[in-house]
């Protein structure tokens, strides 16, 4: 494959994003749905192209700027798929709030492009640029609902803290560049491995800043402060977008920087990740118990899940990375569904993000109560749902890395975490509804959420295929 063929999905996506932008500008208000359909079509074809161009072996293109490999392709395909569902969920929600504008989809497509660039980056420069592209789109999407003070505040916080994180990342990158004389991840790995650098203090110094930057983007404690406010303040349609696909991109970023580039410093970053992971699981799970707002609760649960996600990476083995990748994909699917349910229940300017809004859901709609229960139990890590396999796979690798104590800590926190998920189940099944009106969401939304829930159940019964995919993808990168 020539360089340009290798990045066909990205090129197609960029072209289509521009096309959507222009088409949208000339569309009358009544035909706004065309923008939406074009965006969905773009994602489908982009995902299809990614799958069609699945590389047999890693190929570095554009003078080391990007790499096309198994892990990247799998994650990119999943990102496109998850974004597809996120767009589907958001249509009715945006329309009811009069923010059904082409920009949401244009920015969303550009955000997907940013994620894809991050995922397939092979140089610190590309990672940074992809990250900025993604972040810029997300800032704007959070702020899009201009009449909402919450959204504006969230966007401001997100922007300021995001800029801070980018600064950290850049500072770290400059240190690494100073130490090794290159930003190409392959060359950095070669320099670190060659042993020419006698005193690696400068590298470790840079590494600290890189890890801080990455932790900011992942939302790991103690760099998590932005996350609950942003998840809570942003319109739910945006929250579900932020909370799902970008986590996979963030995972890829961690993999690229720490594993592809700085695997030689594993002893150093492993210790840092252990601390981040334990803190995230502790703070996320404990604070989530105190939340009364479902979006905030999911935000803290995200933090806890990030702690688990890190566990696989810090085990430092190929199997561990595969486990983390599995976790990232699974988490994105579950989180998408959880927020999707909030969108499903809200209507006509009425947000269904308080815990009370889920009271007695079983009486209003047994089917969606069941679907929500599947999501919750899956997040809590109860078999046979897929969240259990995700937790299991990372814990297994942590034990394999001779850190049994860490696995025990993780298990203890996950049982604490089970409590707040259980509380929502209790509300849905044991309490009387405050408002017994039936669910009025559109058919496409209902179908999409149902498919999402069945996917969590189905993957839970047959996790083998996805696992094999992750292992194979990492072997080919």
């Amino acid at each position: 494959m020539t360089d340009f063929v290798a990045i066909t999905p990205e090129l197609f996506l960029l072209t289509m994003a521009c096309v959507v932008l222009i088409v949208d500008a000339f569309l009358p208000e009544a035909y706004r749905a065309v923008t939406y359909q074009l965006a969905l079509m773009t994602l489908v074809i982009t995902g299809g192209l990614t799958v069609a161009l699945y590389p047999a072996e890693p190929q570095v293109v554009f003078h080391g700027a990007a790499v096309v490999d198994g892990m990247g392709s799998v994650l990119k395909a999943f990102i496109a798929g998850i974004a597809f569902f996120a767009f589907t969920y958001s249509k009715d929600y945006l329309r009811e709030r009069n923010v059904f504008k082409g920009e949401y989809y244009v920015l969303g497509l550009f955000a997907v492009l940013g994620m894809m660039i991050m995922v397939s980056a092979h140089s610190l420069l590309t990672i940074y640029l992809g990250l900025e592209l993604l972040s810029l789109c997300l800032y704007a999407m959070v702020a899009m609902h201009r009449d909402s003070a919450d959204a504006s505040e969230a966007a401001m916080k997100y922007f300021v803290l995001g800029a801070l994180a980018s600064g950290m990342l850049l500072y770290g990158i400059s240190m690494i560049y100073g130490g090794t004389g290159t930003v190409d991840l392959g060359e950095i790995a070669a320099v670190v491995a060659s042993g020419d650098i006698v005193d690696d203090t400068v590298l470790v110094f840079g590494l600290v800043f890189l890890v801080v930057g990455l932790a900011f983007k992942l939302g790991a404690v103690p760099f998590h402060m932005w996350l609950p406010d942003v998840y809570h303040g942003a319109p739910t349609a945006v929250t579900l977008f932020i909370g799902s696909a970008p986590k996979m991109a963030a995972f890829a970023m961690v993999m690229r920087v720490l594993v592809d580039g700085l695997e030689g410093l594993q002893a150093d970053w492993q210790a840092m990740l252990v601390i981040l992971s334990i803190l995230s699981m502790a703070v996320g799970n404990v604070i989530a118990i105190a939340q009364t707002n479902l979006k905030r609760m999911f935000a803290y649960s995200t933090i806890a899940h990030v702690g688990f996600l890190i566990l696989g990476v810090l085990s430092g083995t190929e199997a561990g990375y595969a486990a983390s990748m599995f976790y990232a994909i699974v988490y994105a699917i579950m989180s998408l569904g959880g927020f999707g349910m909030i969108v499903l229940l809200s209507r006509g300017g009425f947000e269904a993000d308080r815990l009370e809004d889920f009271k007695g859901l079983n009486e209003r709609s047994p089917w969606f109560a069941f679907i929500m229960m599947v999501f919750l139990f899956s997040m809590a890590g109860v078999p046979p749902f897929v969240g259990f396999w995700a937790k299991w796979s990372v814990l297994r690798e942590v034990v394999a890395a001779d850190m049994v104590w860490l696995a025990v800590v993780a298990v203890v926190f996950s049982i604490i975490g089970a409590f707040y998920y259980l509380r929502v189940v209790k509300l849905m099944y044991f309490d009387k509804p405050e408002d017994a009106s039936p669910i009025t969401a559109g058919g496409d939304l209902q179908a999409a959420v149902s498919i999402n829930g069945l996917a969590v159940l189905g993957l839970g019964l047959f996790p083998g295929a996805l696992l094999t995919l992750c292992v194979a993808a990492l072997a080919a990168s």
Binding site: V382, P383, R396, F430, G464, L467
Partner: protein
């Protein structure tokens, strides 16, 4: 065929989703039919079961998650045969018993009962540690909902207590399972969870002790053994009748079955080390449970505490390491399932009529409800362990096993014999609290909160007749059952005894 027994309830639960929500009669009928067919199939399997071998029969083994060496591996052996039969037998009775008690959310209720049935049978049948764990956890969700939605006044407290206790135990088990998976993989290079492979796993004594402790905690919560029993009275009292029956009849056996199938044979050296502790706790459970039952005023609580006491015999039989004791333990599990299941059903029937479980409100039911009184008396006598009932067979064999072991070990240690002798006290106490319950409930001046009382309906009569018939069947002719369990029990016993220092036992 075995797979049909396993998956039939799940198919039934799926089938219920297409039944219209308001067609309660159809829902009930379908569930009863599914359970009935399951029992017929299970009975047929029981008939086909070959007693001569301890190997697995009706085995199915297909890869589930090949990269972790996890298989869908189910099969019948002498250990789980009777328990599967018991589960399948209680299924239709539970369903029929709940016809009149459950009037809201009927479809969800029966769907949950069916899912629970599926998970329970799956737990018994699983021959792969991982599969076992998945089924084990899967039981939690339906039980959580059954107690939480259709329970009594303090149902939320009870259901959360139940779930947190059980989840705490099973999370420790999960940690142990992960560790086992890892060591097996590093030792052999092939990931495997087949339970048979894990017997004599070859861990060092310290590791075995930790692993056994993790498993034992999880199982001991389920049994429940003193001092991890406090969830049980709450869960039983608050659960709807059907929930109590399943809980007492089947779920509690998961713990003892876990000890028999996994805990003891997987870690035989550590089990030997823990044996005095387990035996002592078993005897403490027998006595303490009986004493607690003696002072309760709530009918359901009396039956609940009696479960703690009765399951103590099971544990005593299992850790006696005597063939008769182990088999007695198995029979006692089945017997307790039938008796306490029956008693809970009867408590439910009187509660439906009078809306009170306070013993002080009742008296002289023998005159008000003669049919009811006959059945209650029969169950009481079975619970006390009257010869010719199943309660006698189970308790007697378990105690006999404990004494056998005690005599055999007398040259080395006196404590097994002392414990066995103490356990006999439990029989006396058992007679005391059960006769106190029956006496105050059935005899004396006739009174009840809601007079007049309707007699037993034909449905109720049929349920109780079936139970009592089964109880007498085991009591009068336990031979075939003992025969079918013998080969497997022998196998477990040989694994356990292999860990003993030579010359310790005959």
């Amino acid at each position: 065929m075995l797979n049909w027994v396993l998956f039939l309830p799940l198919l039934g639960a799926l089938g219920l989703t297409v039944v219209p929500a308001h067609r309660n009669d159809l829902t009930r009928g379908l569930t009863l039919a599914v359970m009935g067919v399951q029992f017929v199939l299970a009975a047929w399997l029981y008939g086909q079961f070959q007693a001569a071998t301890g190997a697995l029969q009706f085995e199915t083994r297909i890869p589930w998650i090949p990269q972790w060496g996890v298989y869908y591996h189910v099969g019948l052996d002498g250990l789980n045969l009777l328990l599967v039969l018991l589960t399948a037998f209680l299924g239709p009775l539970v369903v029929a018993g709940a016809f009149s008690a459950i009037t809201t959310g009927v479809r969800l209720f029966y769907a949950m009962v069916l899912v629970l049935q599926f998970a329970m049978v799956g737990t018994f049948l699983a021959q792969d540690l991982f599969l076992f764990y998945v089924f084990w956890e899967a039981m939690l969700i339906p039980m959580f909902l059954i107690i939480g939605i259709w329970g009594g006044e303090r149902r939320l407290y009870a259901t959360f207590k139940f779930v947190l206790y059980t989840a705490f135990g099973s999370i420790l088990m999960l940690a142990a399972v992960i560790y086992i998976a890892y060591t097996v993989y590093t030792a052999t290079g092939v990931p495997s969870f087949a339970i048979a492979d894990l017997y004599r796993g070859g861990w060092s004594l310290e590791v075995q002790s930790l692993l056994l402790a993790a498993f034992a905690l999880s199982f001991a919560v389920k049994v429940p053994m003193v001092p991890l029993h406090t969830w049980l009275p709450d869960a039983h009292v608050e659960a709807p009748t059907a929930g109590s029956v399943i809980l007492a009849g089947v779920l509690l056996k998961m713990g003892t079955y876990g000890f028999l199938k996994l805990g003891l044979p997987m870690f035989p050296e550590a089990a030997l080390l823990f044996r005095p502790v387990l035996m002592t706790l078993a005897v403490v459970s027998i006595i303490y449970g009986a004493l607690l039952a003696l002072v309760q005023e709530d009918i359901k609580k009396i039956v609940a505490y009696s479960s703690i006491s009765h399951l103590g015999y099971v544990m005593l039989g299992l850790v006696s390491y005597d063939l008769m004791g182990i088999q007695g333990g198995i029979i006692q599990m089945v017997s307790h399932g039938l008796i306490s299941g029956g008693l809970f059903l009867m408590v439910g029937m009187i509660y439906e009529r009078c809306h009170s479980r306070d013993l002080a409100h009742y008296g002289g039911l023998a005159r008000l409800l003669p049919g009811y009184a006959v059945f209650f008396m029969l169950l009481t006598l079975a619970s006390v362990g009257l010869p010719s009932t199943s309660g006698f067979t189970g308790e007697f064999l378990a105690l006999l096993g404990a004494f056998n072991a005690g005599w055999a070990e007398l040259p080395h240690a006196t404590w097994p014999l002392a414990l066995a002798a103490t356990a006999v006290l439990g029989v006396v106490l058992g007679a005391l609290y059960m006769l106190r319950l029956a006496g105050r409930l059935l005899f004396g001046p006739a009174r009840a909160p809601h007079l007049p009382l309707a007699g037993l309906s034909r449905r109720e009569g049929a349920i109780l007749t079936a139970l009592v018939a089964a109880i007498f069947l085991i009591g009068l002719a336990p031979g075939p059952m003992l025969e079918k369990t013998e080969a497997s029990a022998l196998e477990i016993q040989s694994i356990l005894n292999a860990a003993r220092p030579a010359g310790g036992t005959p």
